[in-house]
């Protein structure tokens, strides 16, 4: 399918919207420019650190988005999806922040090509609701369903299937990009603009819509193998030896365990369950998407320090202890396997007013020694971080600022108020950079700017493209200011 316009016969339009042509969007005349009202409000990322104030506007149509970009003032603007980036990527002090969730239509599903055309503000949750009953799943699913397609492209997100499927933008056939001049361009893989935008943190323009290739599935359940790894060596050996047998693989690692147990972990790996794996009753509606009830949201105003070393240590030990030494073929709901945290809305509030940071880095295969040293340093530091995630990435993609590259990635949450955390993480950065690794910008709120070019060697090309396509700096975020991107 070359263009979302001109629906082929096989296409079904599941959602309210007719398959209007995204490609035919043109900038409206200024005189008739639609106005989107904006409110001045404080904005943070998911980690709730470093709030800044911006004018938040929610364009409801492509034309409104174009008008908003054209009218943005001296401090520019940045697109925002569901705000799941942990740091300051989707905030813009003193300028505009465009909440893209108003562009929420699924435009077309092409059952022959296995693609969906949707607005950039559509969430992966919504896509699952609509697509699963039709036998399709999103090609890449992060640890939460509550991210938008725009955010998935902007951060070039990865999932538990990175070692076989790569990152999100590998599955993007094209997208519509609203650039600084107010024009809308159809951008396809293999072009500079595509590679700059894939992982480009919204700094090349506003994505309005995208065509994404889907994964056919027979059921909405997962078949999952669970095993325990006694320590880091054991864990890395198991991941290296058998990851290729699974479409999805991840390890939850206990970073408070020390001594011989350093790096102990629980591996959960699996695939979409085939029809014949389902019990007879479930086979009647094999594709039903029932994420299960969400618990009440975490209350506001929780104190800092709720997640101390002791409580987190106990939790981690309990959770490691209760995991089966080895279990195969367990059937799990999609939501339990992919998005366990989505059951508690606003769980980020449990870190209290001080918020938290997520530290995620990747180092290459062969840098196991570096990985080990970092795990030991975190364990020795007694960071109260529960459920850190370790995964083995496959080869990286072409995105200039795209995070994943072949090797080991570790992600952990830490309360921002932990004394000395800033210098401690700076020290880890040095180690990561020396090993040729990098930290993930979508999680970042604190990287030393000097390291950006070391970790992302194509950052220069990225700046050059921005200087060329956006000389006035229309697309600006707190992250781009902080890291001079």
């Amino acid at each position: 399918m070359s263009s979302p316009a001109g629906p082929p016969g096989s296409r079904t339009a599941p959602e309210t919207a007719p398959a209007t042509a995204t490609a035919s969007v043109t900038a409206p005349a200024i005189a008739s420019a639609p106005v989107t009202t904006s409110v001045t409000t404080s904005v943070t990322g998911w980690g709730r650190t470093a709030p800044t104030t911006a004018r938040l506007a929610r364009p409801g149509t492509y034309d409104e988005a174009v008008a908003a970009v054209r009218a943005c003032g001296a401090r520019g603007g940045i697109a925002r999806g569901l705000g799941r980036a942990y740091g300051d990527a989707a905030q813009n002090a003193g300028g505009a922040v465009w909440d893209m969730t108003g562009l929420d239509r699924i435009r077309a599903v092409d059952a022959e090509a296995g693609t969906v055309v949707c607005d950039a503000g559509v969430s992966l949750h919504r896509l699952m609701e609509v697509l699963l009953p039709r036998g399709w799943f999103v090609p890449v699913s992060p640890g939460t369903r509550y991210v938008t397609v725009g955010g998935a492209i902007g951060a070039d997100i990865h999932g538990k299937n990175h070692h076989v499927a790569g990152s999100f933008t590998r599955h993007v056939r094209s997208f519509e990009l609203l650039t600084a001049d107010g024009a809308v361009r159809t951008v396809r893989p293999g072009t500079a603009l595509f590679d700059a935008t894939a992982g480009g943190m919204g700094l090349t323009g506003v994505i309005l819509a995208a065509t994404v290739a889907l994964l056919p599935v027979r059921t909405s359940l997962m078949t999952v193998d669970t095993e325990r790894a006694a320590d880091l060596d054991d864990l890395l050996a198991r991941l290296s030896a058998t990851d290729h047998r699974y479409r999805y693989s991840v390890a939850w690692i206990d970073l408070l365990a020390r001594g011989a147990a350093t790096g102990r972990a629980v591996l959960t790996r699996g695939d979409h369950a085939p029809l014949d794996a389902l019990p007879a009753r479930a086979r009647r509606a094999p594709l039903a998407f029932r994420p299960g009830g969400r618990l009440p949201p975490a209350p506001r105003g929780l104190p800092d320090g709720l997640l101390g070393r002791r409580s987190v240590g106990l939790f981690n030990a309990f959770w490691y202890g209760k995991a089966p030494r080895r279990r195969t073929g367990e059937l799990q709901k999609l939501s339990a396997f992919f998005h366990p945290l989505d059951g508690v809305p606003h769980w980020n509030r449990v870190y209290g007013r001080g918020g938290f940071v997520q530290y995620q880095f990747v180092v290459g295969l062969g840098a196991e020694g570096t990985l080990r040293r970092i795990v030991e340093r975190i364990a020795a530091r007694r960071c109260p971080s529960f459920l850190a995630v370790l995964k083995r990435f496959g080869a990286g993609g072409p995105g200039w600022l795209s995070f994943p590259s072949e090797g080991w990635t570790l992600a952990l949450d830490i309360p921002a108020g932990l004394p000395g955390l800033g210098p401690f993480l700076d020290g880890l950065d040095e180690t990561v950079a020396e090993a040729g690794g990098r930290v993930y910008l979508a999680k970042d709120a604190r990287l030393r700017p000097e390291l950006v070019d070391v970790m992302y060697p194509r950052a220069d090309a990225f700046r050059a493209l921005r200087a060329h396509t956006d000389p006035r700096g229309v697309f600006t975020s707190d992250l781009s200011r902080r890291l001079a991107l």
Partner: protein, 251 residues
């Protein structure tokens, strides 16, 4: 921009030779601060302070600024903000004055009041306007425990700090929701040239300790910071002490 721990990348010091401010700048430069503006009355001391910060790796510029020349504030400070965002403004200028002399020569008391209060009101409002446009930033105001309850021995200085403290709190409330954070810092006796030759009061501290407290306050986005922290309960007691008793305290 400040990072997740409140560490600024750019810093503007009003009162560029203040020992407390420079101790703070050294700490912040050791973290994320790369751009420092030292605003103050032109002097070799000001240039020397800039040189020392440069040797730590910061890009430092000085700008002529006199607290008493309120008419010139817009221009002097406007120039700084025109060059780029300022993440933290540290309002540090102030004079202690000589209480005995002030009582004999009211003109010297006026000088203290105009520097510590009027000059600060003007400079803070000029900066606040630019910070507001930025949508982020902290204004750190060096008040003093002396403003918490004016004492017989230095009530001219104390009252000027009381005025400044009240002003800064009000400004903080006015800026609530704009992304701009105002933090009032209330040190006790700090060993600097301002207090040279005076007998240290109980709980006397150092510029470095004030710098640590300021850095922590930025991380927590505190609205008020006492240095040392023990002064807070102590001043609560003093504040409620009957006048007749307070008057006779040997402080």
């Amino acid at each position: 921009m400040k990072d997740a721990f409140g560490s600024p990348q750019s810093l503007l010091i009003l009162g560029g030779t203040s020992e407390i401010a420079l101790a703070t700048a050294r700490r912040l430069v050791a973290r994320r601060t790369r751009t420092v503006w030292l605003a103050g009355r032109p002097s070799p001391a000001l240039e020397a302070a800039a040189g020392r910060l440069r040797s730590l790796g910061a890009d430092v510029r000085t700008v002529a600024f006199d607290a008493l020349d309120t008419d010139g504030h817009e221009e002097a400070l406007g120039k700084v903000f025109a060059e780029g965002d300022i993440d933290v403004v540290l309002l540090a200028f102030g004079v202690l004055g000589d209480q005995k002399r002030a009582e004999a020569e009211p003109a010297t008391a006026v000088q203290v009041a105009q520097t510590n209060y009027t000059g600060a009101v003007s400079a803070a409002l000029v900066c606040a306007r630019s910070l507001r446009v930025q949508g982020h930033g902290s204004l750190v105001v060096l008040s003093s425990v002396a403003g918490e309850r004016a004492r017989r021995s230095n009530f001219v200085y104390g009252s000027s700090k009381a005025g400044l403290d009240a002003f800064a709190q009000g400004l903080g409330d006015a800026l609530y929701g704009t992304g701009v954070h105002v933090m009032v810092v209330r040190p006790g006796f700090v060993r600097t040239r301002m207090t040279a030759g005076l007998d240290p009061a109980p709980l006397a501290t150092t510029p470095a300790a004030v710098a640590v407290a300021i850095e922590a306050g930025l991380r927590r986005r505190s609205e008020a910071v006492w240095v040392p922290g023990a002064l807070r309960p102590m001043m609560t007691v003093l504040r409620h002490m009957p006048r007749a008793l307070f008057r006779r305290l040997p402080v």
